[in-house]
């Protein structure tokens, strides 16, 4: 099944007393945050990362774009950790720098041009090779390709689906918890829970 949910659900709930003040502040700030001018990534790195992320999670929401590169750039600028990393990986900042450089190496080796200049089908083939851990390029010796893919994609997904626009896309309204949830049986929805449209 392919489910689709109406737009605007989370944004509307944020205007109501169904969310706590703490929840409203956190989500509204994320929703209204302006696009970040990268300070960790160089302009060419930010451009490449945008090209990659646009294939990992394509965005076509007319309500706006989720600034995933900005979320990653902010974390790396502050040198913040999520509490762990694979011992086989270099430190996060190095991992991103090296992984981006290596992605372009693979693109050139496989299709003769940098990643952003390739048609999307070829971009996807480059990403498949990285995910499988078998891409060409000498820089991958310094950063395991499959782990780079996993870490980058997990962070991308975290940034996308913690954003109100991403939450609306999957019909998530768990933040509207002030009235408590009393209908916990299967197929039993409360009025504020969006129904899929198909």
């Amino acid at each position: 099944m392919d489910y689709h949910y109406p737009a605007g659900t989370v944004r509307a709930l944020l205007q109501t007393d169904d969310v706590t003040e703490a929840t409203r502040q956190t989500l509204t700030e994320r929703l209204e945050k302006p696009r970040r001018q990268p300070t960790f990534f160089q302009p060419d790195e930010a451009e490449l990362l945008t090209c990659i992320i646009d294939r990992l999670l394509p965005q076509d929401n007319p309500a706006g774009r989720i600034d995933i590169v900005g979320v990653i750039d902010e974390r790396l600028t502050g040198n913040q950790s999520d509490g762990w990393r694979y011992d086989s990986m270099p430190a996060d900042r190095d991992a991103y720098r090296l992984g981006l450089k290596a992605t372009d190496e693979s693109a050139v080796a496989l299709y003769g041009a940098p990643f952003c200049e390739l048609p999307t089908e070829q971009q996807d083939e480059v990403l498949n090779a990285i995910q499988a851990g078998t891409p060409p390029g000498i820089t991958w010796q310094q950063v395991p390709a499959d782990r780079f893919f996993e870490e980058l994609f997990a962070e991308t997904v975290g940034a996308y689906y913690s954003h109100p626009l991403g939450q609306e896309e999957i019909g998530y309204v768990g933040m509207a918890d002030v009235p408590t949830w009393q209908r916990t049986k299967l197929n039993d929805l409360e009025a504020r829970e969006p129904r899929p449209i198909n």
Binding site: M1, L27, W84, D87
Partner: protein, 519 residues
């Protein structure tokens, strides 16, 4: 009421860490009239103000100083397997509180592997009873597995969530018995000593982050307020760096950082309750309590395979207590080709947690991933928690890399052994059968190990263990350890309730023997 001691006072005891290992013991020592100070690295949160219903907004509850995960099956930390703040990782535990069964404590006797516990089940069960009634555990009136209980749970079970209903359906179809589970969250409001009224669970399904209504029985709303009402002093945002030994081999002083300033508190006893990574890390950094060479060894992490599936039914996995249904029919399966066993649990899940797991292991990305993500409201999971044996190749060490505080990062080596692989394969088959019988489509498995256990093992023999059965160091007589690091085996249950039980036992043993200890 809570006291405030001076740095010039010699307090009776310093408790380092305020999670499931530290908080119960803190309350017990304070109630006995001791001058006790708790040092907690994290903040004292106000759940109403500080806990938005937002996963990213709550990552402050995780110990986010970087740890290095090595081995064939690297164990994740941060949102898993760590905690910081007054209440420790109980702030974001799922509140699942099954008891161990007696045979969990004797894998060596029954299977010839691992080690037996130096404590009897009956002794632990006495504390289970006390804790369940004090913190407020909701559970079934009759629990089908394990020995008879002294009393039933103090409150009826919480409403069953979508995943739980599906697990009941699937298990019934394949002939596996289920029960509503014990959860440390209130199915009805109640008075909490030292705190006041606690509200009933709002079914907001956000238990793997902080509870903003106080219904989840984390330490910050149970044993911490009790400890403060009995006179304990709590110092939050205090990061311990040194345990200073005097010439007689006892710890005389604890050094910590508060607001960037180094402070020193004199003390007679130290209770180290910082969890299975930070506890051995502190001992290693201070070169303490390790004549056995066992500090950091015997690292274990539960087998924790999850099976996910999509159902036609509208489930909304963000509603209801995540772990509402349990089965312990797999505790000692007849057809097992492994030692020990496991339990089965239903799991509700928050969206970012679920989708990041999917990102790491399902293999989908691009439009295929987005379509699978849009099925979130139709997703339910079941998982296991099972034994993990200790192996020489699984251990924690200090790396050469320094963290943001300038302190060596811990490196944790973990690789599942043959026993864990066999158990996981057994569970994979059973859970897929259950989920298929329940009507799941697009079933996929998330490989994981969860809960960190065993880096400062307890036992009778000081040559092979770090502490004795009372949690007392064999090397430093006024040092006690109380947390998941002392578990001799992993146990086939979630560890929090047993950590609390050992915490109270350590306090009681200490109080009973204090005159003899106080040489």
């Amino acid at each position: 009421m809570s006291n405030q001691y001076s740095l010039n006072d010699t307090v009776d005891a310093i408790v380092i860490g305020t999670g499931a290992g530290g908080a119960p013991l803190l309350a017990r020592l304070a109630a006995a009239g001791l001058k006790v100070v708790a040092l907690e690295a994290g903040q004292y949160w106000d759940p109403k103000k500080d806990f938005p219903t937002d996963e990213v907004g709550q990552d402050k509850l995780f110990w986010n100083d970087e740890r290095l995960s090595a081995g064939t099956d690297p164990v994740p930390f941060g949102s898993n397997n760590s905690g910081i703040g007054v209440g420790g990782s109980t702030l974001h535990y799922t509140a699942y509180t099954p008891r161990v069964q007696p045979d969990d404590l004797q894998l060596k006797t029954d299977f010839g592997v691992g080690v037996d516990w130096p404590i009897s089940f009956d002794e632990i069960a006495t504390y289970y009873d006390e804790i369940e009634h004090f913190i407020g555990v909701s559970g079934p009136s009759e629990y089908p597995w394990g020995p008879a209980r002294k009393r039933s749970y103090p409150m009826p079970p919480l409403p069953i969530n979508g995943a739980g209903q599906l697990m009941e359906r699937g298990c019934e179809a394949v002939g596996i018995k289920t029960s509503l589970a014990a959860n440390a969250a209130l199915s009805a409001g109640r008075h909490q000593e030292g705190l006041g009224h606690r509200a009933a669970c709002a079914n907001r399904g956000f238990c793997q982050a902080g509870c903003n209504v106080g219904a989840k029985s984390s330490m910050d709303v149970t044993y911490i307020p009790l400890a403060l009402s009995k006179g304990a002093e709590l110092r939050s945002e205090c990061y311990v760096t040194q345990l200073v030994k005097n010439s007689s081999g006892r710890i005389s002083e604890v050094v910590y950082l508060q607001n960037g300033q180094e402070k020193r508190q004199k003390c007679n006893y130290v209770f180290l309750c910082a969890g299975a990574i930070e506890t051995p890390r502190l001992l290693m950094l201070n070169q303490l309590a390790n004549s056995s060479g066992q500090v950091g060894r015997n690292f274990m992490a539960h087998t924790g395979l999850q099976i996910w599936g999509e159902f036609d039914e509208d489930i909304r996995p963000y509603k209801g207590i995540p772990g509402s249904v349990i089965s312990e029919d797999t505790h000692r399966p007849d057809d097992a080709d492994f030692a020990g066993g496991y339990l089965l649990q239903s799991i509700g899940v928050m969206p970012v947690t679920y989708l990041q797991q999917m990102a790491r292991q399902r293999g989908l990305w691009g439009e295929a991933f987005k379509q699978a993500a849009r099925a979130y409201n139709h997703v339910a999971g079941i998982n296991i928690l099972g034994d993990c044996l200790p192996y020489d190749f699984n251990y924690m060490e200090l790396s050469d890399e320094k963290d943001g505080r300038g302190i060596p990062k811990p490196r944790v080596h973990f690789t599942n052994g043959e026993n864990e692989h066999r158990m996981t394969a057994h569970a994979d088959k059973i859970m897929r059968q259950i989920w298929e019988a329940a009507g799941a489509k697009n079933i996929w498995a998330y490989q994981r190990n969860a809960h960190i256990i065993g880096t400062c093992r307890m036992g009778h023999d000081g040559g092979a263990n770090v502490v004795n059965a009372d949690g007392q160091s064999f090397d430093v007589p006024n040092l006690f350890i109380s947390d998941n690091s002392t578990f001799p085996s992993a146990l086939a249950v979630n560890p929090a309730l047993t950590i609390m039980a050992l915490s109270l036992r350590t306090a009681d043993q200490f109080l009973a023997n204090r005159n003899r200890l106080n040489v």
